[in-house]
Symmetry: C2
Subunit: 122 residues, 2 copies
DNA sequence: TGAATATATGAACAAGTGCTCATACGATAA
DNA sequence: TTATCGTATGAGCACTTGTTCATATATTCA
């Protein structure tokens, strides 16, 4: 009870922002959605995975190709591909004993590009 | 030596993809850039921070407002704001003892939107 | 000055993450 | 079948991360 009150009151005496708070509360996506969104960005938040996604922008590559590019073990790449698959960021096709991975859709490029723009300025 | 060879050779006998690999190597951003990019996405990869950024899309809010919205402690919000500041995703202005935070630029919206598009389909 | 309020920060800890190592699986060829 | 190659997976571990708690800093007001 007390906690809930503390959460609703802003800075105890100043109710100045309660209007803004209500508006924000209405416009914000559901908690579950925001959680999923964070989960997605978490995937992009690892340099090995970002590197893999960038490599796949040029076209499909097999696990061994990726391992070579990343300069990490085949096992590590395989583990990360599993993560990327689970998030539907990559898809794959099997050809003999080789498995080729490629980007699942064009959102990957969009997201990478927007991020790149931010870090590039200044 | 042997390791380096293993890294350059793809799947031992199949040199089929070496052409593709060289092309990818040329077109890929520098390792340092990819690392910075991952660091940026790491910021978005936490539900508390994503929620904070979404809230700030509507306009500036003080620390206490944000704590109220996030339903976490003021201390936690303050720690996260520090992270967001360091990445130049938010800026702030002081008014008396209150500090108002707002988004640093429009890239935040772009990045959030692209991510949202991805999780929304299917 | 001293009290109160808003925010910031350091330490500590539980939970999560990405790697390596060993091994298993799946497909091909002898 | 057996051997080999490409890939996948489970266990274990070092490292990171986000929170809480306590406290410090900064601003206002009496």
């Amino acid at each position: 009870m007390e906690q809930e009150q503390d959460l609703d009151l802003c800075c105890q005496e100043e109710q100045v922002h309660t209007g803004a708070l209500e508006r924000v509360r209405e416009l914000m996506p559901r908690d579950e959605t925001l959680y999923d969104l964070a989960e997605l960005f978490k995937i992009f938040g690892d340099s090995t995975r970002v590197k893999m996604l960038y490599a796949l922008l040029e076209g499909e590559l097999c696990v061994c190709d990726l391992a070579s590019l990343m300069e990490v073990s085949q096992s590590a790449v395989s583990h990360q591909l599993r993560v990327l698959k689970a998030s539907k960021l990559v898809k794959f096709r099997r050809e003999g004993r080789t498995v080729y991975y490629s980007l699942a859709d064009e959102h990957v490029l969009s997201i990478l590009s927007q991020g790149m723009e931010h870090i590039m300025e200044e």
